[in-house]
């Protein structure tokens, strides 16, 4: 619904010429990048994301209107690292060099990110990702927002230099707010130190690294392939051995498989949002972490 309203606003902006010249229309692939773009752009930009928040962005199937949105956009922000490969085909269809790879208004937000689990292009899937170019869930480390917003800022300042100072100020204000929150979150999550966690999909390495969380295993080791019985048996065994009480799942991941593992090992299922809008009340980048950290700490407190 956030997407719809964002889109309506964006289309309205286009319908009224004076207004459209004022504000920069930005298209992002995911809601997380939309939220971060809004943080930098403030009221100077209108941002819309292509993938609805409750869908798996890695399996998104673009719609004809997405091409239209790209044609109207002045800036494109994507996740990169093979996470949103489908956008390349959309860009080819839209045929706008400015927002295509190498253009001045094309932002690969993963630029200059410290990538985890990088294997090189030649190595096949081994731990939940077919991505040789590294694990793409980097926005789940709040520290990485610094780099992502810097990438967005650079491009915004390039296409709208008149407002560059405003964008810079917006970004600084946002990062200050985020950093004070980050200190809070680190204290809250220190309660989960040495507490083993099992995830459904390997979406959490950046999150785990920042908050020192121990993800010991994943249910789905190859994307789209159901787990084999011996793999599940191994997970349940190591969960029992290490007294794992938390199994993490995202809203779009199969409920029954996760509940099955959790029941066998006597653990609780915690549903976390890996993207803005995937759960209620995760309206922007900061509340995404608020909701997830609240869910984790309350699950850890329930013994």
């Amino acid at each position: 619904m956030v997407l719809r309203s964002g889109l309506i606003v964006a289309l309205l902006a286009l319908a009224s010429p004076g207004f459209a010249q004022d504000r920069v229309l930005v298209v992002t692939t995911t809601t997380d990048l939309r939220s971060l773009t809004e943080a930098v752009g403030g009221d100077r930009v209108v941002a819309a994301s292509l993938v609805p928040p409750t869908m798996d962005a890695e399996e998104y199937q673009p719609k004809p209107q997405d091409v239209l949105r790209l044609k109207q956009a002045r800036l494109l922000v994507r996740v990169g690292l093979d996470y949103d490969l489908w956008v390349d085909r959309l860009l080819a269809q839209a045929g706008k060099p400015a927002i295509s790879r190498g253009g001045p208004a094309y932002v690969d937000a993963s630029f200059a990110i410290t990538v985890l689990e990088l294997r090189g292009m030649s190595v096949g899937p081994g731990d939940g990702h077919a991505h040789g170019s590294g694990n793409p869930h980097y926005w789940l480390d709040p520290k990485n927002a610094e780099t992502i917003t810097a990438n967005i800022l650079e491009a915004l300042a390039r296409i709208d230099p008149a407002n560059a100072a405003q964008y810079e100020a917006n970004r600084q204000a946002f990062l200050a707010r985020l950093n004070s929150k980050l200190a809070e979150w680190e204290i809250k999550l220190s309660a989960l130190k040495n507490m083993p966690i099992v995830g459904y999909h390997n979406s959490w390495p950046y999150f785990a690294r920042r908050f020192r969380l121990d993800f010991i295993d994943f249910i789905e080791i190859k994307p789209g392939v159901p787990p084999s019985p011996s793999h599940l048996a191994g997970i349940v065994r190591s969960m029992r051995e290490r007294g794992t009480r938390i199994v993490v799942r995202e809203p779009h991941e199969p409920e029954r498989d996760v509940a099955f593992v959790a029941n066998k090992a006597g653990a609780k299922v915690v549903t976390l949002a890996a993207s803005v809008g995937a759960l209620p009340e995760t309206d922007d980048y900061i509340s995404l972490f608020e909701v997830n950290i609240e869910a984790l700490t309350s699950a850890a407190a329930r013994r």
Partner: protein
């Protein structure tokens, strides 16, 4: 082993129950020639659940079940009529249309409510591995009731009765299929439905005999599929479907031995096998001669199974280079894994690494990945060159082998024409 049993017995019980009801329905479905009706019914039920979801009912509620059931019953009415309508267009075509339209409508609806995508997926892709006693508690009484109803009405369930009986058949079948698909997924339910029934029909005349064969085969093959999935670390549903496929192929090979003249069957089986072997060998010979650097499925498979076969055509220098590259590739893989493991451990243990150190680790891992790819390229190149060198001799050898394997009686070829008959 203990682990395996503990994990697999609930799935096995579920499989036995599913085979129990679906082998029966499968025989009926085969007799009516409506093979894909289960897919259509499952899709219609999913469409009903999607509509319920769109109207705001939670996934597991009575209302959602009610919608599914209503849609299934409506589809049963439609299906009961399809036989009457199917005069110039085959009934299967109408069933296929029902299936694709229901699937497409569900997608269109889902498009309006993004949260539903996962919901729809869960209705149609159950996982038998994570099913168990909870599911059994629902399906055992339900399927027993359906089975009893069909037994009581067995005289009317022959597929030639009035529309009412046809409706009843499709309605009960729809209810069964809908619950089964949510547990085991579309692919596996289709196998449960068709394969034991097909084997039963092949080897039995009476319904009771067909059923008994279907049940025995279904139970045995389910157990084999589950065991293979555990032993070889495979996704369970897919492993079971393949086990059922293999069982049908074996039954097909066994069929002539039990039905026809055994000696003739044996002779024709051997000569078919020899023709197939000869064709594979001759094809491989041509492939090697024409494109020695391309994939050579037969040779590649043989070398994968027995790596020492390479010694037959590698020179000593080639063998050394190959072994060296293989060793290095493995070393780079290990090094990269060690680095990754170190970074992973460091997320929770010890002093946290700063971004710079992690970036360094990542860059090393990437380099190791590329170096490994380089070594693999060397291995491929050495092998391709060696094969290029021996292409003519080896192709000739394979061709000669193919001629030997082919069941042609060379000696009497000139004396009598009739002995050249290739069965």
């Amino acid at each position: 082993m203990n682990d395996a049993l503990q994990f697999l017995w609930p799935s096995f019980l579920v499989a036995v129950v599913l085979v129990g009801i679906h082998a029966y329905f499968g025989i009926q479905v085969l007799a009516r020639k409506v093979i894909f009706v289960d897919l259509a019914l499952a899709q219609i039920a999913a469409l009903g659940a999607t509509v319920a979801f769109m109207l705001g009912h939670p996934a597991q509620s009575i209302a959602t079940y009610g919608y599914s059931l209503t849609f299934t019953l409506l589809a049963a009415v439609l299906l009961a009529f399809t036989r009457a309508w199917a005069t110039r267009v085959p009934q299967e075509a109408l069933i296929g249309v029902i299936y694709v339209v229901a699937a497409a409508m569900a997608i269109l609806l889902i498009d309006r409510a993004p949260q539903g995508a996962e919901h729809l997926k869960q209705i149609l892709t159950g996982n038998i591995l994570t099913s168990g006693l909870n599911e059994l508690a629902v399906i055992v009484p339900l399927y027993a009731a359906v089975g009893l109803l069909h037994w009581l009405l067995r005289r009317h369930m022959t597929g030639v009765g009035s529309l009412v009986w046809e409706f009843l058949f499709y309605a009960t079948f729809g209810i069964v299929v809908t619950s089964s698909v949510a547990i085991a997924g579309v692919l596996l339910v289709f196998s449960f439905l068709i394969i034991p029934a097909a084997i039963g029909v092949m080897f039995g005349e009476l319904l009771s005999r067909q059923l008994a064969i279907g049940w025995i085969v279904g139970t045995f093959v389910s157990a084999a599929g589950l065991a293979a999935s555990f032993a070889f670390d495979l996704p369970t549903g897919a492993a079971m479907v393949c086990a059922f496929g293999v069982s049908l192929a074996l039954a097909g090979m066994l069929y002539p031995f039990l039905r026809d003249n055994r000696r003739w069957a044996m002779r024709s089986a051997i000569s078919t096998a020899r023709w197939i072997g000869a064709a594979i060998l001759a094809g491989s010979a041509l492939q090697l001669a024409a494109a020695p650097r391309a994939d050579q499925p037969l040779i590649d498979m043989a070398e994968y199974a027995i790596p020492s076969l390479r010694a037959l055509y590698f020179t000593r220098a080639e063998a050394t280079t190959f072994a060296d590259a293989s060793e290095h590739a493995e070393r780079y893989r290990r090094e990269a894994e060690q680095l990754n493991e170190m970074e992973r451990r460091n997320r929770t243990q010890g002093q946290a690494l700063d971004d710079f150190s992690v970036a360094r680790i990542s860059s090393f891992m990437k380099s190791y990945g590329e170096m490994r790819k380089g070594e693999q390229f060397v291995m491929g190149e050495v092998r391709a060159r060696a094969r290029e060198r021996v292409r003519w001799g080896a192709s000739f050898g394979l061709l000669a082998l193919s001629v030997l394997v082919a069941p042609v009686r060379w000696r009497r070829h000139q004396s009598t024409d009739k002995t050249n008959k290739q069965c």
